[in-house]
Amino acid sequence: MTAALAALLIPLFTALGLLLLRSRSGPLVILTSLATLAAACWALVEVTTSGPQSLHLGDWPEPLAIRFQLQPITALLLVFTALIHLLVAVYAARSRHCRTRDTDYWPLSCLLQGSLNALWLSSDLFNWYVTLELLGLAAVALVALSGRKAYGPALNYLLLSLGASLVYLLGVALIYGRYGVLDITLLATQTEADQSTRVAFWLMTLGLMLKAALWPLHLWLPKAHASAPTAVSALLSALVVKGPLFILWRLWSEAAPVELAIETGPLLAIAGVAALLLGGWSALRTPWLKSLVAYSTVAQLGYALMALGLLMHWQLPALDAALWLFVLAHGLAKASMFLAAGELQATLGSKRVSALRGTTETMPVAMFAFAVAGGSLIGLPPSGGFLAKWMLLEPMLGQSEHWPWVAGILLGTLISAGYVFRVVALAFDRADPVPPDFKPDRFAHWLAMLPALVVWGLALVSQPLIAWLTGATP
């Protein structure tokens, strides 16, 4: 537990320290990130060897306590967060094109990581509200780093984030009024499927869906992610949207009454399919590169939502593994994709997809990273995305009454293949290539490649990973 606390506190103190010292030092953040990563790994080892642990802040008794809980999946998410953060930090510090090198990016990103880690560790509704607020504000501030052009999307993001928090808070209040507890484990023993519980859960869900940009409340995401600086886009897509998803998952799989979950599941799953199709369609049509990647986030979250909805509907814990595999695979792939896309468009001097003509020749590594990450998004074997899809497909195909859902996966796969290869095919156009404005930055390209390789490398540890995830999720 100490290690987990360290992983939470190191980024927070780094952020504070940077603000106090008025320093914007990238290397320092990288160092502390390394420390965070080490702490998270330690926590992972700890939780694997000695099981879940919890910590009561201030030693208050149960109903009032603010409780931090370290579960295997939490530990994994800590490591995942630290990893992505470290990678993006290295990118932000080293890349020639990164416009965030000497800006407020450093404290904000640390704050973001800290609040996210707090979110993973928390296990009561109000704590989550606080961490969500922190997370949202940090994210909005990061988006606004991009300058005047990003103000509009950032403002939208801010407004909706606040609104979502309010809706969520309303739900929390209802729950508190009804049961008098906020801790999720306590709540799990008490909830009943009555009207007020239903409304409360629904309100919380809507708020969280808006924060996680789940369809149909995703509208803010493409603009916000696309207009943010490259490093920020990567963080937002890979990490931030996963926070609310985590809360949703815990709410519905632990706290919610079973009947309610069964009833709500299909709605979420249908929303997931819609996200897959409509998000995918938008990605297929948009003329802007980063927009394409952002829409792909909307679409890919559809998989997670679908997994969650079906998990609730069928009460199948096996789908937990699918859900978290999706989160991991998508996070890694998307980080890679945004970094690659950012590098590509900065080097080419154009934000359009059509500017990518001939990039396999001029910037092979970046394009390859994009393609490899895209392969995982499509779910090509043996990438992480494939493993997740397999885990999702298995219970679907196992029983013939579940078969119709498969159509969603099928179409989702095809459409994601469509938007990934839309870019890749263009990159092979040698007849009329767009010359780059600068000499390509090989280091940054390899950096973008790294998470993509990791996500394909998951295949090497796939079986222990799946076994671990299946056993690890409560």
Binding site: P153, L159, L160, G163, V167, L203, L206, L217
Partner: protein, 550 residues
């Protein structure tokens, strides 16, 4: 010793390389069939070649095969010798020799094949390479003939392929030709084989390629085409069909009828032709008709051995005589023949018509005997008429040759040419004395009755010719143009292939555009809806909550 059989088809194949790359080798290329002849004399055991395909076996099953091998090798040898001279000045002679050797290899292989697959391999090799011989001259006429030949050869191949498959299946996977003799045959198999081999043999009505293709080839090639290759069809039928079965019995009258029709059809149409080699080709059609007829005798007769002997003799006799005539025709087109040359030329012609003391007289007599024995005495008259008409036809051929010879005398005597052609010409007379089986048949035909039976149709025909020439009867059909359905079909097929159907109609461009535009507008409107991020999201939440409360 058995491995020596490999030399028979391989020698020609191995000679291809020196022919292509070493000009002087062509002078000795005519010796390629020699190993076959030598082996026919040595008669080693048959060779099993499981490495090729299961059941592959090469060798000589019986005397018929032996005789055919010797005769075929001899004909190819002599024709080859002729061709060495004839092709000496040809700029494309390497190509000629290439196809010559390939066809030779195929022809020899099918003769020594004792299993169905080997036979088919040889048959195909021979058929397809003969295409190169047919179109050798490159003239329009040759190319047309070649196209038709190839089209029908391919059809024949495929029918044969099907027949072969069916036959193997009927025999339970056994590939030995000998075993097939006792295996009953199905209707489909029979039809496939009849059509497949019939297209090669060229009897009516499957002859359509023959009168076009044989004249188009160079003379040596025509000689082997007409003399040796078309026999492969008849040989194939005799090898592939069972000796007696119910089904065959039902088909025999039809086949015999076709044979006789073919025999007279060839004569009638041949008489109307205006080119010597075409007339000779029609004579082949006619003679193949007789062969088919003999084959039906083999399949019905109580003593198939004798009928089989007749078939063999007939094949050899016709092959040599026709070879001599085709070579002669080639010779005549190049130079004027001396008087004795014409005398030589008359020998095979008369032999074909069945003059006593020649191989023709011998086989005709034998044929009549067989027909009588088979209880079809009423056909004797028809056969007699056949002899008369054959004489008419060959006379017409000789007459046309006479008129087509160039004005110049031969510049220099060329021994090999005279030797090869002369040997072939006197073969019909010489052979009966050398070959015991044929000698017996000839001696049988020398009785007064038999001789008279052979002679009077010839006299009748001579009389008829005298009348025709005296009163210029031929002027009535001089300008008659015969339809050539085969060539027309062939041309039509080519044209059909070369005019491609238009691609399926694509939807008109404007319609496509307008749909795209409309869809694009729709998409824009939809996108604009998403522009107002906050309000839409708020609306969605509001509606959701409202729905929830209700």
């Amino acid at each position: 010793m058995a491995w020596l059989w490999l030399l028979v088809p391989l020698t020609p194949l191995l000679l291809i390389l020196p022919t292509l790359y070493w000009q002087r080798a062509t002078r000795w290329i005519w010796l390629a069939p020699l190993p076959a002849g030598v082996l026919a004399l040595l008669q080693p055991d048959s060779l099993r070649l499981p490495g090729l395909w299961p059941g592959a076996r090469w060798g000589l099953p019986d005397d018929t095969a032996l005789a055919l091998l010797v005769f075929t090798a001899g004909l190819w040898l002599l024709a080859g010798l002729f061709a060495v001279w004839n092709q000496a000045a040809d700029s494309r002679r390497r190509r000629f020799w290439l196809f010559w050797l390939l066809a030779l290899s195929g022809n020899l292989l099918l003769l020594i094949a004792q299993d169905g697959a080997s036979f088919y391999v040889g048959f195909t090799l021979m058929s397809l390479s003969a295409f190169g011989l047919v179109i050798h001259s490159g003239k329009t006429e040759a190319r047309r003939a070649g196209r038709l030949y190839l089209q029908l050869a391919i059809m024949g191949e495929l029918l044969l392929f099907m027949g072969l498959m069916l036959r193997v299946h009927e025999a339970g996977g056994d590939m030995e030709l000998a075993a097939w003799q006792g295996t009953p045959i199905g209707t489909a198999t029979l039809i496939c084989l009849l059509l497949g081999f019939g297209l090669k043999a060229g009897f009516w009505p499957l002859h359509i390629w023959l009168p076009a293709a044989h004249p188009a080839a160079p003379p040596a090639a025509s000689a082997v085409l007409s003399g040796a290759m078309i026999k492969a069809g008849i040989l194939g039928l005799s090898r592939f069909l069972p000796e007696s079965s119910e089904l065959i019995g039902g088909w025999l009258p039809l086949l015999a009828g076709i044979g006789l029709i073919s025999a007279f059809f060839g004569v009638v149409v041949g008489l109307l032709q205006r080119r010597d080699k075409t007339v000779l080709a029609y004579s082949s059609v006619s003679q193949v008709g007789y062969l088919l007829f003999v084959l039906t005798l083999v399949l019905t007769a109580d003593t198939p051995a004798l009928a089989g002997l007749l078939l063999m003799l007939y094949v050899v006799h016709h092959g040599l005589a026709k070879g001599a005539l085709f070579l002669g025709a080639g010779l005549v087109h190049e130079q004027r023949l001396p008087r004795w040359g014409w005398a030589l030329m008359a020998l095979p012609a008369l032999a074909l018509a069945g003059l006593p003391l020649t191989s023709g007289g011998a086989v005709k007599t034998l044929l009549k005997d067989q027909v009588e024995q088979a209880g079809m005495a009423q056909l004797i008259g028809v056969l007699t008429l056949g002899s008369a008409s054959t004489l008419l036809l060959v006379s017409r051929a000789l007459w046309l040759m006479w008129h087509s010879q160039p004005a110049t005398r031969p510049t220099a005597p060329r021994l090999p040419v005279w030797l090869s052609w002369g040997l072939l010409c006197i073969a019909p007379v010489l052979l009966p004395w050398l070959w015991p089986e044929l000698r017996q048949a000839m001696l049988n035909s020398l009785s007064i009755y038999a001789s008279w039976a052979l002679l009077w149709p010839l006299l009748l025909a001579t009389l008829l010719m005298a009348v025709v020439i005296r009163f210029r009867v031929y002027r009535y059909w001089q300008h008659l143009r015969l339809p050539q359905p085969g060539l027309r079909f062939s041309l039509w097929a080519r044209r059909w292939l070369q005019t491609r159907p238009l691609s399926a109609d694509a939807p008109s461009l404007s319609a496509q555009m307008s749909t795209t535009v409309r869809l694009r507008a729709l998409e824009r409107r939809w996108n604009r809806l998403g522009e107002d991020v906050v309000s839409v999201s708020v609306w969605v939440i509001a509606l959701a909550v409202l729905w929830l409360l209700i």
